[in-house]
């Protein structure tokens, strides 16, 4: 009977600790996802994003201010693979959107350089930036990316570029403005970001870069696929 009482007390104490200390535990869960490094003085900043936006406007505000502070600083843009909404000019491309916003914040157009290559994923982005770094061996780049994807970006750049070149790329994780990353579990978006962060990191660790790129239909290809599938109503 005494043993049961002791076990029940231990279980209750453990439950209490989990309930009271869930914050640190959940925060710890994101450690591998984030590549936190001390701030680094580089003359070049690299932005990546999707056609539906950069990684939030704090990225743009901070990058514009950083670029204005010292003359000669540059911003590199990694142009992603264009979605069909961009191909048909329904929404502006990542480059158009970032140029528009940075110039509106006082950055000169000449300070913004686009690396063209239509990277389909982060592995291809790393190759793109690697080629540029080989042509600019003295350059040091700070890559700005989503906070919960920064650990994965570090892993990808280390794998693709190898030690000496990868050291020229620093990662600057940026938090999403829609939620507090220290309390990510309180927001649906935060939970989704952490979930996708883990899925991406686990895939990068487990599978690495895949040789074949997944198929991506152009607007015309997708249209003909749909016409074939749905034909005409009876």
């Amino acid at each position: 009977m005494r043993a049961i009482r002791v076990k029940l007390s231990v279980a209750a104490l453990a439950t209490l600790l989990v309930v009271a200390g869930h914050g640190p535990v959940l925060r710890m869960l994101t450690w591998p996802l984030v590549d936190e490094q001390p701030p680094h003085e580089a003359a070049i900043r690299c932005l990546q994003g999707s056609e539906y936006g950069a990684e939030g406007d704090p990225t743009l505000d901070e990058s514009a201010q950083w670029c204005r502070e010292v003359p000669g600083r540059q911003i590199l843009l990694l142009q992603p693979w264009p979605h069909r909404v961009v191909e048909r000019q329904i929404v502006p491309s990542f480059e158009q959107m970032v140029r528009r916003e940075l110039t509106a914040r006082g950055v000169s157009n000449a300070a913004i350089v686009t690396l063209r290559g239509k990277a389909r994923d982060e592995w291809e982005e790393a190759h793109l930036l690697g080629s540029w770094l080989q042509q600019n061996p003295a350059a040091e780049v700070v890559l700005v990316c989503d906070r919960f994807h920064s650990g994965r970006m570090r892993y990808i750049f280390d794998s693709v570029l190898g030690r000496p070149l990868a050291a020229q790329v620093r990662i600057r994780p940026m938090a999403d403005p829609d939620y507090d990353p220290a309390y990510w579990w309180r927001s649906r978006k935060g939970v989704k970001d952490v979930m996708y962060g883990w899925l991406g990191l686990a895939y990068a660790w487990g599978a690495g870069q895949q040789p074949g790129t997944p198929p991506h239909w152009t607007f015309a290809e997708y249209q003909s696929l749909l016409t074939e599938t749905y034909g005409k109503a009876r």
Partner: protein
């Protein structure tokens, strides 16, 4: 060898056998895992196409193709609650991108109905559809979403619309980089399929009864384990 050790070894052997069977059958299991998520049906004549907001590259193009082919005369779109980026005009609201894609694909503006409801989740979107259908009891609706998202959408439609869910048909939009026979070979495919399973679990707990059922099963299992352990101890104790 004690009975306890024999039990442990048998359990371990069973786990190894199951793991080996899963690895050797992965060629059939992996496509089946994605195929189970896709419950899309062939289109039938309907009164409207309802687009679940998400990727306009796939869903709106599919909805426009259905309207152009004559399966339904109009498209229903929810409006999304604005994000910080949208509030500041950095990017277009998601529903506006869908609307523009529909227009671009040849759906006339008069045939696009925007439901003013500021949704955030798929569940909210179906609630928006349910509210719209209250005054249209005989309408049939084609619900368009990405293939792996159709299983969860079907679950939500049944939960929210009840018997009226039979008046809806789910239409799968083809997704770039995520085919049922090779989804595990790309990161986007793995993210999509695995996250759909996780979200299905979350929805079952959050909106369904899986949370209560899971808790009840957990309690029963703990009690059973405790009872078995007591019995085992009594049996293995040396008799006086």
């Amino acid at each position: 060898m004690s009975r306890r050790r024999i039990g442990c070894l048998a359990g371990l052997g069973l786990a190894v056998c199951l793991l080996l069977a899963a690895v050797s059958a992965r060629g059939r299991l992996l496509p089946a895992a994605a195929a189970w998520l896709d419950v899309g049906q062939p289109p039938q004549p309907a009164d409207a196409v309802f687009v679940l907001l998400g990727d306009p590259d796939t869903r709106s193009m599919t909805a426009a193709a259905l309207v152009r082919a004559g399966w339904a005369p109009r498209v229903l779109l929810n409006t999304l609650a604005p994000t910080e980026q949208e509030k500041k005009g950095l990017v277009l609201p998601g529903h506006e991108v869908h609307r523009r894609m529909l227009l671009h694909c040849g759906v006339p503006a008069r045939d696009i109905v925007l439901l003013d409801n500021q949704v955030r989740t798929t569940y909210d979107e179906v609630l928006g559809l349910a509210a719209y259908l209250v005054s249209r009891p005989d309408w049939r609706v084609l619900v368009v979403t990405d293939g792996p998202h159709t299983r969860r959408s079907q679950w939500i439609l049944r939960r929210v619309l009840g018997d009226r869910a039979s008046q809806t048909s789910l239409i799968s939009a083809a997704v770039d980089g995520c085919r049922a026979d090779s989804w595990w070979q790309s990161e986007s495919g793995v993210s999509f399929v695995v996250s759909e399973y996780l979200k299905l679990g979350f929805y079952a707990v959050r909106y369904g009864t899986a949370g209560y059922v899971g808790a009840a099963v957990g309690v029963v299992l703990v009690l059973a384990w405790w009872a078995c352990r007591r019995r085992w101890r009594r049996c293995s104790a040396p008799s006086p």
